[in-house]
Structures are given as structure tokens and as C-alpha cells.
């Protein structure tokens, strides 16, 4: 199998998730990486093996459409059997755009891929991970996006860099990056080092709901975390967000309050020691991976729980 792996970089480092996909692809056959950006030769060299590089100012902003143009040309020139991605906001949009350009099949959220009788077969958890689906492609190339955290790899270093041309379609150049805002500094205790995390989602109903959550976290000696839904809405700071576009945490105890348990949240907290979930919807996906699932109203349960923990402590 001849595979191309989209290596995503941020600053001067390649993402460990995409390096993990490269290592996986190398174990299946002939795999090369591709790095697209501006001033990216050094970061491309930090990978191992052969890396295709498009180094162009028009690829500086992390936007999908110019990348689709370059990848489509590379695939046409080199004839890959597969193009593989590690999940990210950018990678998903690049992969889907490329699928449409090439009329190629795309499977996403894969946690495994193997070669069976000369064909690729991917494994994808579906419906809140309650069933696993084996899926294949009838197109060439086969396009795949792997779930965050499935494979992690390290930069081997010393890659042989091969330059590729950049020719962009008009519609691919219309989005402009106006501003990038890095993460603001965290105020409370950092969630990455906490043994106990009390996390809350949209079930809180509003930013004022965090008062009760903070009180419980204090009694449990833990830090407060949040879902993207409440962070994007401005209820709580981005530095506390857990999930695909936030932090990955693995505390001893993770208490999920009013959180549905979407896969993009799950990938950031599934390695927690013990997961306790409070949700009023008995069908919430979080109950499929919580160690203790409590069906009930958080407004009733959280204050009582805080009191009981306090009483026990003193």
C-alpha cells in the first residue's frame, strides 16, 4: 500500500497525533508524509522517512481549501492508494474537501486500520461507541481520518524533503485569517495536573451555574473543567476546556455534570480513573462510559453532594 499522511504542524512542531498516523501507515507499507505551510522545511525535516513539502506564503494560515488544491495535485501526480489524517478541525475540512474534489471515499473517526486481502479495512465506533463498524473503500485513493488520541508518535528526525508545486484554485483563496488568539492564561488550578476534576456542560443552564460546581470542586479538592459548548458560549474560560479542541486529562476522578458525552468531549477525558456522570437524560451517551451514572437533576444533586462531602471531611 502506498499511503500519504497529512502531517499537521503548529509553530515548529508536528502534531504527535499525525506522527502516530504516519507510524501506523509505515507499518502497513510505503508511507510518506506531507507538510503544507510557510517556512516549514525545518519542521518537515523533523519527521522521519520521505516528506513532501509545499512551502508557500499562501499556505501560512491554517485554512483547508488551499491545502485541498495542493494535495489533489500530489495525489494525481503520485497515485497514492490512501491519504490519511489525524483528526483536527483543519484535517476534517481538508479531508472532506479532498474527497469531494477527487470523488473519493472518506471514512472518519477510525480507531484502527488494516490491510485485508489487499484492501484497506477501517474500524469505526458508531452511535456513541455502542457498536463498532468495519468499513472499506471502493475508491482510489481511500481517505481516512483517525480519532484524536488513537495513535501518538514522535518525530524521528532527518526526513528527506521533496518539494511540490503550489497552484491554487480561485475559490480556495477567498478565506482570510484576520486574527489568531492563543489560549489565555488559566486562573484557577490547572486541570492538567489535578487528581480530581469536576466538569460541567450546558446542562448548567447558564454561567451562574458554575458557582455550585466550583463549590463541589473545592470540597473534593479538585479543579473545574468545561465542555466546548459552554466555553464557546462564554460561560467559562477556554483554558478549562476538555476535549478534542481543548485539553486531554486523566485525573483519578472525573465528575461530569450536565454533559451529554459527545465523542469530541470523550476523547479528552476517557482515560480518567473513575468517571461519575450526573445527567437528567437517561439516554445521554455519557452513561455508556461512566463508572457511576446518576440519572437526575443536577440542581438537586450537586448542592446536596457538596454538603455531604463537606460534612464527611470535617
Amino acid at each position: 500500500m502506498k499511503a500519504l499522511v497529512f502531517l499537521e504542524h503548529h509553530g515548529d512542531a508536528l502534531s504527535r497525533a499525525s506522527l502516530g498516523v504516519l507510524a501506523k501507515a509505515q507499518s502497513l507499507g510505503d508511507a510518506t508524509g506531507v507538510v503544507l505551510g510557510s517556512g516549514v522545511r525545518a519542521v518537515a525535516e523533523s519527521a522521519g522517512g520521505v516528506v513532501w513539502v509545499a512551502d508557500d506564503a499562501r499556505l501560512d494560515a491554517p485554512l483547508p481549501q488551499p491545502r485541498v488544491d495542493v494535495l489533489a495535485q500530489l495525489v494525481r501526480d503520485e497515485g497514492f492508494d490512501a491519504v490519511l489524517f489525524a483528526q483536527s478541525v483543519l484535517a476534517a475540512d481538508v479531508a472532506a474537501g479532498l474527497a469531494a474534489r477527487l470523488d473519493a471515499g472518506l471514512n472518519w473517526d477510525l480507531v484502527e486500520v488494516e490491510e485485508r486481502d489487499g484492501a484497506l479495512v477501517g474500524t469505526r465506533p458508531a452511535l456513541g461507541d455502542t457498536v463498532y463498524v468495519e468499513t472499506s473503500w471502493s475508491s482510489r485513493p481511500a481517505l481516512a481520518v483517525f480519532r484524536s488520541g488513537t495513535f501518538d508518535g514522535d518525530a524521528a528526525g532527518g526526513a528527506e524533503v521533496r518539494d511540490i508545486p503550489v497552484a491554487l484554485e480561485e475559490h480556495s483563496t477567498l478565506v482570510e485569517l484576520v486574527e489568531q488568539q492563543a489560549e489565555e492564561a488559566a486562573s484557577g488550578p490547572s486541570i492538567e495536573d489535578a487528581d480530581v476534576i469536576v466538569a460541567a456542560g450546558r446542562g448548567l443552564g447558564g454561567p451562574e451555574g458554575f458557582g455550585a460546581v466550583e463549590a463541589l470542586a473545592r470540597e473534593l479538592g479538585g479543579a473545574v473543567a468545561a465542555t466546548r459548548a459552554v466555553v464557546d458560549a462564554g460561560w467559562y474560560p477556554y483554558s478549562t476546556q476538555v476535549g478534542q479542541t481543548g485539553k486531554t486529562v486523566s485525573p483519578k476522578l472525573y465528575v461530569a455534570i450536565g454533559i451529554s458525552g459527545a465523542v469530541q468531549h470523550k476523547v479528552g477525558m476517557q482515560r480518567s480513573g473513575t468517571i461519575v456522570a450526573i445527567n437528567k437524560d437517561p439516554h445521554a451517551p455519557i452513561f455508556d462510559f461512566a463508572d457511576l451514572g446518576v440519572v437526575g437533576d443536577l440542581n438537586e444533586i450537586v448542592p446536596k453532594l457538596t454538603e455531604l462531602v463537606r460534612a464527611r471531611r470535617s
Partner: protein, 251 residues
């Protein structure tokens, strides 16, 4: 402004979505409802429509999906277009994009909106395929959106913090669920929706169907997970949680 919103009818919450083991597809025989995620896109469209604009919801799905689309009409959308044809059954990403693009090209909207993700497919990427086939700029994950002077400005979250993006219209935008609080349809809205136009298109109307290029081979059970416990709050849930934590030596 003329706005098209791509929305999906999905198995209703709690109806126990499952995969059909014979067809290996999602069993859509139960209740279908408008995806929650897509109500945010409908709300945003209504906000941006203006007095002389139009909001049309566009969907690919079984004929019964028309009922779910009526919820968008009850919220205030002007009409719906449903692509429904046996040729699109089991459509994958590219085939779905082709059907929607065929319907969108008949509308020539200035803005095409998407929801954040579908709860069943969960690809969170269909917009990029549609934008590519329409040859329009695309912005995904927009948590804030403004349109002014023939261009849009959006703020969104990625793995590295926030970005502000700008693009000229016509454009394709996928909105995050945090962008707004969708309205509930009013009684008047629900009554009014019954007389709004609901068009159904066949494959021939949208440039023809085709074969999917991805196939499901088999369904397998997920890996076994450790023991887990479930309780319903009967007034003593807090006590039960404390007991559980004590047992696990987490207090």
C-alpha cells in the same frame, strides 16, 4: 439575504437509534426529528435573513423527513426542499454532498449554513465537501458570525485557541452550537408552517444519484468495558455518590 440551511432529520432522542444488522445502515424506521445541532443554524439564518430575505431549509433524507423539516418552518424558515430518492439510500459523504449541491444550485443562495455535526453521522465535515463542489469559500465551527458589506466575519475555536476569519459572499459556513439559543416554535409558527411550501426533489432533479464509495462490511460489538453502575435519583443520589466514592477510596 437569501440563505439556505442544510439540515438533517435524525432518529429522535431517546428512540434508541440503532444500526440495522441486515442493511448495516442506521435504522430510520422510528421517529425522525430535526437535529438539535441544526436548529442553531436555522436560528442564525433567521437572525441574518433581514426583511426582504428568504430562508430555505435543504435536506437529503427519506420522505418522512419532511415532517422533521416542518419544525424549521415552524421556527420561521420560509420553505423546505427535500431530496428524497431510493438512489441516495445509504449515501456516503460524497454522494450526500452531490445531492445537496444539486439542490443548492437551484437556489443560488448568498449564504449556505450548516449545523455543527449530525448526531448520527458525526462527520462534522460535510460542509467542506459541499463548498468544494460549489466552489465557494468555507468556514467551519463558527461560534460568532456577522455579515456586512458582502462579506462575513466569523470567530471559531480550533485546537490552538480562537481564530477570526473573513470571507466574501457567497460562502458556506458551519455554526457551532454555542452561536445562539434557538427559539422554540410558537403556536402561531406551528400553525403557519402547515401552509409553507415543502418541495420534494428526485435524483433526476439534482443531477442524478450514483454509488457510494465507502461500504460497511460488518458490525461488531464494542470492546468490553469494566463494571459500571447506574442509579435513578429518588432523592438519595447524593448519598449514593458519596458511598461510591468512599468505596473507591476517592474521598
Amino acid at each position: 439575504m437569501r440563505i439556505a440551511v442544510c439540515v438533517k432529520a435524525v432518529p429522535s432522542a431517546g428512540s434508541g437509534a440503532r444500526l440495522d444488522s441486515a442493511s448495516k445502515r442506521l435504522d430510520r424506521s422510528g421517529d425522525l426529528g430535526l437535529s438539535e445541532y441544526d436548529t442553531h443554524a436555522v436560528e442564525e439564518a433567521l437572525r441574518l435573513r433581514g426583511d426582504d430575505g428568504e430562508v430555505v431549509v435543504v435536506s437529503l433524507g427519506p420522505e418522512r423527513a419532511a415532517d422533521a423539516l416542518r419544525k424549521a418552518l415552524a421556527m420561521g424558515a420560509d420553505r423546505s426542499v427535500l431530496v428524497s430518492d431510493a438512489g441516495f439510500e445509504g449515501a456516503d459523504l460524497v454522494l450526500t454532498a452531490r445531492a445537496l449541491v444539486g439542490a443548492l444550485e437551484r437556489e443560488s443562495p448568498e449564504l449556505v449554513l450548516f449545523g455543527q455535526q449530525s448526531p448520527d453521522g458525526n462527520g462534522a465535515c460535510l460542509w467542506a465537501a459541499v463548498a468544494e463542489k460549489l466552489r465557494r469559500p468555507v468556514v467551519s465551527q463558527a461560534a460568532e458570525l456577522a455579515v456586512e458589506g458582502g462579506a462575513l466575519r466569523a470567530k471559531r475555536q480550533t485546537e490552538f485557541g480562537y481564530e477570526t476569519l473573513r470571507a466574501p459572499l457567497p460562502a458556506v459556513v458551519a455554526v457551532s452550537e454555542a452561536i445562539n439559543e434557538p427559539r422554540y416554535p410558537s403556536l402561531k409558527g406551528i400553525m403557519g408552517a402547515k401552509s409553507k411550501p415543502q418541495e420534494v426533489l428526485a435524483a433526476g432533479d439534482v443531477g442524478g444519484a450514483g454509488d457510494p464509495v465507502t461500504t460497511v462490511l460488518a458490525l461488531t460489538p464494542p470492546p468490553a468495558r469494566g463494571e459500571s453502575r447506574r442509579i435513578e435519583d429518588d432523592g438519595n443520589a447524593a448519598e449514593a455518590i458519596v458511598e461510591f466514592l468512599a468505596e473507591k477510596r476517592l474521598l
